[in-house]
Symmetry: C2
Subunit: 300 residues, 2 copies
């Protein structure tokens, strides 16, 4: 049974088959958030910290932290963001950058076992990121594209994922510490995007035995009622075996879909989390789900 253990100084989260789905908050990311980008660049991290607190209150089990701002000193910004988020929340973090120096700066200040987001199947990227992941004893998100780009063929994406898992092993990183991201395209642009992901997730689980994650919100890009599409996508992905996702925990419909899918996948024993979260009609679903979800995770 594959288990990926992530931690902060005080708390562990386990991503695994036959466990409740792990929701990773997506909000701390300046991409498309001009105000946040401006503030971070000016050394103002108040919104970053507020977003961290809001997302964990809404039920996020982990938080993704990204500081990708053009023309900014991304390593310094990411390190600072990681430190300031860890100062106000105790959930493990996903340190998110396409710049290796920024990943390293984030890892250097991180307390606990982080998730590194991400490595691709490109040789040069693997040879720079994987030693870093090994040195810090982190887990890593493997994105199934390589030098040739993103294939529309799930079999090709599977092979790229397999190559990353094998290369990680060469660096001493166990398969349990590699979470494959099958790459979620907007369903409005590519009608096969859902089926591709579901098929790939099933193979990744059955044949490669790895945990999976994805950027879920992308699936509904451009469509009306996005939260319904994203929530339904996640429930179907959970049905196919996906074990975590980077998503917006402030969207209650999405959180409810994830919790209902946990019930139906048999990963919410006695429906206890669902019943607790839905007992008090006045409390927001996410908040209750999150508190309970976190308490339920065993410390190791």
């Amino acid at each position: 049974m594959t288990e990926t253990v992530l931690s902060s100084a005080d708390k562990e989260v386990v991503i695994g088959f036959d466990r409740p789905f792990v929701m990773i908050g997506e909000r701390i990311n300046p991409t498309g958030r001009r105000l946040l980008a401006e503030e971070m660049k000016n050394d103002d991290f108040s919104r970053v910290q507020a977003d961290a607190i809001a997302q964990t209150n809404a039920g996020a089990h982990m938080l993704d932290v990204n500081a990708g701002i053009p023309l900014a000193d991304e390593p310094a910004l990411l390190a600072k963001a990681v430190q300031l988020v860890q100062a106000v929340t105790d959930v493990p973090l996903s340190i998110d950058s396409s710049i290796v120096e920024a990943l390293e700066a984030g890892l250097a200040v991180y307390e606990g076992k982080a998730m590194v987001n991400s490595v691709t199947g490109e040789d040069e990227v693997m040879e720079r990121v994987l030693p870093l992941v090994a040195r810090y004893g982190a887990a890593v998100v493997a994105i199934s594209n390589d030098e040739t780009g993103i294939s529309e063929d799930p079999d090709v994406r599977f092979e790229v994922a397999k190559r990353i898992v094998n290369r990680a092993a060469d660096h001493g990183i166990p398969a349990a510490d590699v979470l494959v991201d099958p790459l979620v395209m907007p369903i409005g642009a590519m009608g096969t995007a859902g089926q591709q992901v579901f098929q790939l997730v099933r193979r990744l689980r059955d044949e490669l035995g790895v945990n999976t994650t994805c950027g879920a919100s992308n699936v509904s890009f451009g469509l009306p009622n996005r939260t319904n599409i994203t929530g339904t996508f996640l429930s179907m992905a959970i049905g196919a075996g996906m074990t975590s996702a980077i998503m917006n925990p402030l969207h209650e419909e999405v959180v409810r879909s994830v919790m209902a899918a946990d019930v139906l996948a048999g990963n919410d024993p006695n429906c206890a989390a669902w019943i607790r979260a839905n007992r008090d009609p006045n409390a927001p679903a996410g908040t209750r789900a999150g508190r309970k979800g976190r308490r339920r995770r065993p410390a190791q």
Copy 2:
């Protein structure tokens, strides 16, 4: 590609792989509806007709009609209900009874190609129901239990389903006219109920090549926020390959989950149905979905 064609006098509905999911309205059923039972027994079918209209307006592509009232003349009641429903709606019907004489009475008055709900794997039942289905050129719902009851083992249920499909073939009924019901148990009573159904549906589709249906609402029995559980169940079942269900189309969340799952399964080309249904924020989702969904089905 398996296609089950059902019809009324004026309209055809096709249940099939890679097509939009077919929603069969569950409301015309006196079980647990004391007032409706009382009225039907007293020859008052006004509520039956109102329920028929409300469900088709809400998006049902077909309607299930059941007249199972203790100590009543079920064959006469079912025949009358079928006629009166056909008088006010033009969607194909599922004629639903455990009494073979009632199925026959319903079929005798039905205009079009009906769905007969249901036959089990019990020899005596098969030998009484299947000749009837063959004689009227109907399709039939096959429930995967037999003399030994309902197995918790999906493999046993698969074998029962296979036996019914083979026996139907002996009577000249093609596999395309057998829709297997994997039997949906309440998830609150049996935590594996969801996974059992999803596994079985995948095998029924991949190995037996048959369409599937189920009574969906049962899955959420006893839980809070039932519509979220039922809707999420249906989206996961669609992900596993289920092609129709008997459900409540008056529950908008459930209809929305089905439509979103159609998008994500790649069965809503260009997301056209989703976009249309979600364009006008003032119209109820189900209504809009239904109108469009029915128009989209090709006449044959």
